[in-house]
């Protein structure tokens, strides 16, 4: 039975629904910036990835990066969204030290991508989350406040990097849904190669809009925006603390001020950003240094044809064709590289073994060594070989684990390891009979106890046979022979 949705802020008298909308900023995987040709590489020395255009010197002009347009369109297609063949770049005007031109080039009324949707798998069923739009915009530089007590240091490396801003409709209703949504977006973009979704490096961050309303009410409450949350965990925490704050305010008779807030990760609470002046009259107008962006339908169609199989489709196929559970499918499609690896392995190996070994054994190793599956020490070919050796009975599952360990260390293929270390399963019935009889002869008293009813001792006998055979005895045969001998 499926769980029911049950995220509410529950107070003495009321049940409050939490309404969430997300504005996700995803850095495009381009090598150079959106409107200039300097590098987007992360972590470089300050102000080295900066051109005259990035730092808004007099007379500098923007020229748009074709690759960024392609990634925005691809992402839009991945979100089942409308691609606008004609879009406009607007200037968003405000002053800040890390915004050298005093304006950010963004898209306001005519974004490149329109409405779309994303489907989430929640424990209580599938949930469709509407996408309002996606547009391209410049990132700002970085203001560093803690290197000096009186001054701020400005690094413009990031200034001008291409961002895709993905705006959701206010369809999300819980931190879990937000978690799922962000992960879904991330997966889609990683599949498409349009954004690497690396939240630690800031390639993916979100502004979270939160409001509350009594369960059953139709009208939306006043919302607050929590800016620049850069991890999913913090998003979840921020939502919960902000929702609670709003509920408290309303229940004590106060009004919610529509404002921008920051999430304090140490105090686990949101606080108001104090830019209280006629803040945020951005005076959007079309950037006169740029002409309207017009793309052809054929351009869009070509990109569509080149799209890889997207996560939802792949998941459906994995469940239907390979008989995986939704959970297993989710894991195996979470990255393109993982699904590719899986499909390679099952070309020659058993599906059940493959899914278990990848999800449990291989992932444990990759997590431990902090590796991506594309850098796996065990290749898909070698894993397939190992699994086939289990299927054919040449080694037991237990021995296979040992072999796997050695494969991780050496990268060698399993047959070689088995041969070198003499780990072949012992499946000769005559040999096994010898060992079993040997074990039983040594433990006559235990046989008596067993026959008297102590059934647990069966395991002891099996264990002793395994010990005697250095673990190589074929478990099935051992069972058959042991049962036969014990009957005697």
């Amino acid at each position: 039975m499926k769980d029911k949705f049950d995220y509410f802020i529950k107070t003495e008298n009321n049940k409050w629904e939490v309404i969430i909308g997300l504005e996700v900023h995803a850095q495009v995987t381009s090598k150079s910036k959106l409107f200039s040709s300097s590098s987007t590489k992360f972590g470089e020395k300050p102000n080295t990835q900066v051109s005259l255009v990035d730092s808004a010197f007099p007379g500098m002009l923007p020229v748009i990066n074709k690759f960024c347009i392609e990634q925005a369109v691809k992402t839009g297609l991945g979100l089942n969204a409308k691609i606008n063949l004609r879009s406009i770049f607007d200037r968003k005007n405000y002053f800040y030290a890390d915004l050298p031109a005093g304006y950010q080039i963004s898209q306001y009324k005519n974004p490149i991508v329109g409405e779309g949707s994303v489907t989430l798998d929640m424990p209580y069923g599938t949930k469709k989350v509407g996408i309002e739009r996606l547009h391209l915009e410049q990132d700002a530089g970085k203001s560093i406040h803690d290197l000096s007590p009186d001054n701020t240091f400005v690094d413009l490396n990031r200034s001008g990097v291409a961002l895709m801003e993905i705006v959701s409709k206010p369809d999300l209703r819980s931190p879990d849904e937000v978690n799922s949504y962000v992960k879904k977006l991330r997966t889609i973009m990683r599949y498409l190669g349009t954004c690497d979704g690396n939240m630690q490096e800031g390639s993916l961050r979100a502004d979270v809009n939160v409001s509350v309303r009594k369960q059953g009410e139709k009208k939306f409450g006043t919302r607050c925006e929590i800016k620049n949350v850069n991890s999913i965990k913090f998003m979840e925490m921020a939502i919960e603390s902000e929702a609670k704050r709003q509920v408290e305010l309303i229940e004590s008779g106060k009004k919610i001020e529509q404002e921008t807030r920051l999430f304090d990760t140490k105090k686990n609470e949101t606080r108001s950003m104090r830019s209280k002046e006629e803040a945020h009259d951005y005076r959007y107008f079309p950037d006169p240094d740029l002409l309207p962006l017009v793309i052809k339908q054929s351009f869009v169609d070509n990109l569509k044809n080149e799209l890889p199989e997207l996560p939802d489709k792949k998941k459906e196929r994995f469940i239907n064709k390979f008989k995986l559970t939704p959970y297993e499918a989710n894991v195996l499609i979470s990255e393109n590289n993982i699904s590719e690896y899986f499909e390679e392995v099952i070309k020659t190996a058993d599906i059940k073994l493959a899914k278990n070994w990848i999800i449990v054994e291989l992932f444990a190793v990759l997590n431990d060594k902090n590796l991506d599956i594309k850098d796996s020490p065990v290749s898909s070919k070698n894993l397939a070989n190992l699994l086939n050796l289990i299927s054919s009975g040449e080694i037991s599952g237990k021995i296979a684990k040992k072999v796997f360990e050695l494969m991780v260390q050496s990268g060698d293929e399993p047959s070689k390891i088995i041969k070198d270390k003499g780990l072949q399963q012992q499946s000769d019935p005559k040999e096994l009979e010898k060992i079993v009889k040997n074990v039983l002869e040594k433990n006559l008293d235990k046989i008596t106890q067993y026959k008297a009813g102590k059934e647990k001792l069966y395991g002891f006998f099996v264990g002793e046979v395994m010990k005697a055979s250095s673990g190589k005895a074929n478990p099935k045969l051992v069972n058959d022979i042991l049962k036969k001998e014990l009957k005697k």
Binding site: S30, K31, S32, S36, S37, S38, S39, K45, P46, N47, T48, Q49, V50, S51, L52, V53, D54, S55, V63, I64, N65, K66, F67, C68, I69, I88, F95, A97, I144, H145, L147, S148, D150, N151, T152, F153, V154, D155, L156, R274, E277, E278, D281, R283, P286, L290, L291, P292, L293, V294
Partner: protein
Amino acid sequence: MPIDKNQVKKVAKLSRISLDDSKLESLSKDLVSILNFVEQLNKLDTNEIKPLTSIIDKSLDTRDDTVSDGQIKDQILKNSPEKNEDFFIVPKVVD
């Protein structure tokens, strides 16, 4: 009166230009006369007209995604009134 002194103050704040009282006075006068002048446009009915979005009849040219700029830190910082070897230096935003 198309604009009063308070509005001028707000606009000056938005434009990050400080105005003392006498400047505020004289600029307000000027702005009133300029805005009065441009009010004439209201005589025209432009409901059915689409605004001019670009003066040239062409759409945006694009460039390839290659890195061919940057790595000019010294040039970038050279003209800054306050800087160190690596950063621009500005007073803190009061918060």
